[in-house]
Amino acid sequence: MFDWQFCALLLSNGVLIGLMYSLIALGFVLVYKATDAFNFAQGEFVMLSGLLVAVGLGSYGAPLWLAVTVALVLMAAFGFGLERVVLRPMIGRPVIAVIMATIGLAAVLRGFGPLVWGAETKPLPLPIPDTPIVLGPLLIPPIQVVGAATSLLFLAGFGWFFLRSRIGVAMRAVADSQQVAMAMGINVERYFALAWAMTGVVSALGGVVWGNLLGVDVHLSLVGLKVFPVVILGGMDSVPGAVVGGLIVGIVENVAAGYLDPYVGGGTKDFAPYVLMILALMVRPYGLFGKEIIERV
């Protein structure tokens, strides 16, 4: 007798957690979409923002809205500064150089956080109740609903942004071809900086939600590893792709854990998305929604 309730629980958990993964993937996609740069340090961005908010709440006793606003501003400034100092000289370098630069950045952030604020885990309390919302057989934790809703809001917002607004269209032009964009009079550097600042903002919100779920310390940066299957499946430069990719990864993880684990002695949760990812890379490397790169000889 197939246990429908269990299956429904797994699926709902998968959907919600998948949307939370999308929140992180969004930051990654923004950067890649606008600047072709691969941000290996996305998890550390989330950790840094989480730290800023947690410290603001804890050590300074600031009210939530103030701590979050300050964190948003600081992260935007951080993204801006980062682009200026580190990534601008990287333009035109081989892709591996940019990857290594962000890896170096990730190391710096991982050392910087504990150095300044200590290595203990800091809680990030939000005025969101802990008790789950009961929807028939489903038990839904409110924090995940908040995370999922934020993801979807961003999806809608960025979707509109990139399609309709002037700045968004300019960013897409820059991503398409820098030289032509420059020829059209678009200040490429400014849009690069803007893209990184936006990533900072998205990471900040991701940091708030995930920080509440996990507690803020160095482990928070590990969620960044989840980004890769999500963006490969969805397409590295696609905002709806980040959301769909997240959903797929979340659902696959939970279904695998629920139904495959008993046969293999556990651990398929991590394994399954990566296998799926490799298959996707072989069949459709640009993901479901990604833009196909046509090589000109």
């Binding site: 269990f6 290595a119 885990t121 507690g215 993880e253 949760k269 991590d270």
Partner: protein, 415 residues
């Protein structure tokens, strides 16, 4: 050109610094090498545990040392990476360390052969390899605290006491999917056969930040009667939250020693959320121990505030425990060589004479012998009750015959 000049200059400075490292230890000083992780995956532990170690040694030194010999602790952080750990060991050896306090299961494995060849004892309390409890096979490795096998037997005993009987019950083993997490599985399976309970394994792959499916399975599909959890890093707090969310009573959960600290409870949302959670501990928890008061006195005499790490009593007290046992071993070694020129072998013999040393209840009644380097496998269970950790049981150990059988089996497999 400017930037390149800076790089070359930096390299020259670096070469100069490496050519003249700090001077070696002075004579009549006893050197201990402490490996720690303050920046890697387990930094939350190391940052609180290692200060506890230093403070106890500082206390001993402030009272004149051991028979007049001061103890010098050299701490090297290895970022939880093995090559760094190996280099740290070589540096400690160069500085004349007679005892190495290991940190990290992969490092214990990596350094076992070297420690044995160089005849320097290394301790791996509460982690490392469980079969190192066998002193005849691994003469220079000392777990000095409950290994994962002992923790497994103790957890099963505790579950049995809580459930009144184990026969026919369903036990879930929720574990971090790495070698350390998998180590207790053979022991648990053996106990399941012996006590006739059902055992199901639920693996949480690293980094363990999300385990909704496993918890759902435990609570809703398997309907476990008791959960034994062996998680590291951030996953214990996530497990507490998830179990609570699904409505599984936390008093039916017992966690191994590394998922059982204030940090985990606070990260899960506080003591209110974790009410009922049971934790295995190999060192006493809380602030009410005479040795901790002495450390606070020591700081006050120097006009300083006690360090904030003391508040994280689970990890800090473990650091104190490790230091205390080390000091006892050295004290025993000095009895044989009062002039202070002890070697690693003397300290090893010193370890094997430790008996009846409890430090006011902080340390279990260990008895380390040449064949039993674990000391008995004692644990205590502490429970989250009413906003703090409350001692639930006294020191106990369980099923020693099962562990002995496993050790014998491991010995036969290797040779």
């Amino acid at each position: 050109m400017n930037g390149r000049f800076v790089i070359v200059l930096g390299l020259v400075v670096a070469a100069a610094v490496l050519a003249f490292p700090p001077a070696a230890a002075a004579s009549h000083e006893i050197v201990i090498g402490l490996q720690c992780d303050r920046t890697g995956a387990t930094q939350v532990v190391g940052v609180n545990l290692c200060p506890g170690y230093h403070d106890y040694v500082g206390l001993v030194n402030s009272k004149g040392g051991l028979n007049g010999h001061k103890i010098r602790v050299i701490e090297i952080d290895h970022e939880y990476k093995v090559p760094q750990g190996v280099e740290a060991y070589e540096r400690h050896k160069k500085e004349g360390a007679v005892l190495i306090s290991l940190y990290g299961t992969p490092h214990t494995y990596a350094l076992t052969q070297k420690l044995t060849e160089d005849r320097i004892p290394g301790t791996s309390p509460g982690f490392g390899r469980a079969d190192a409890a066998d002193g005849t096979r691994y003469p220079y490795i000392f777990p000095i605290a409950a290994t994962y096998w002992s923790q497994a037997t103790a957890a099963v005993k505790f579950a049995g006491d809580q459930l009144k009987s184990l026969r026919g019950k369903k036990i879930a083993y929720l574990f971090y999917d790495n070698p350390a997490g998998r180590e207790p599985i053979p022991v648990l399976e053996e106990l399941a056969k012996r006590e006739e309970f059902q055992l199901r394994l639920f693996a949480v792959p690293p980094p363990g930040v999300e385990m909704g499916a496993q918890i759902l399975d435990i609570a809703q599909r398997y309907h476990a009667d008791f959960v034994i959890a062996h998680l590291f890093g951030r996953s214990p707090s996530v497990s507490i939250k998830e179990l609570r969310r699904i409505g599984y009573p936390l008093r039916k959960v017992v966690s191994f020693v590394w998922g059982a600290a204030e940090a985990d409870i606070e990260a899960a949302g506080g003591y209110g959320v974790a009410e009922g959670y049971n934790c295995l501990e190999f060192a006493g928890v809380g602030e009410n121990y005479p040795v901790l008061n002495e450390i606070r006195e020591m700081y006050k005499k120097e006009g300083k505030e006690p360090p904030k790490e003391m508040a994280s009593t689970v990890y800090y007290n473990r650091g104190v425990l490790i230091a205390a046992i080390h000091v006892e071993a050295i004290r025993n070694a000095l009895k044989a060589k009062p002039d202070g020129r002890i070697t690693g072998e003397d300290v090893k013999n010193g370890f094997e004479r430790i008996k009846g040393f409890t430090l006011g209840g902080l340390v279990p009644p260990l008895e380390i012998t040449p064949t039993d380097h674990e000391g008995g496998g004692w644990v205590q269970v502490w429970q989250v009750r009413g906003g703090k950790l409350v001692r639930e049981t006294d020191w106990f150990k369980a099923y020693p015959e099962v562990i002995q059988a496993e050790l014998k089996q491991a010995a036969m497999k290797k040779s």
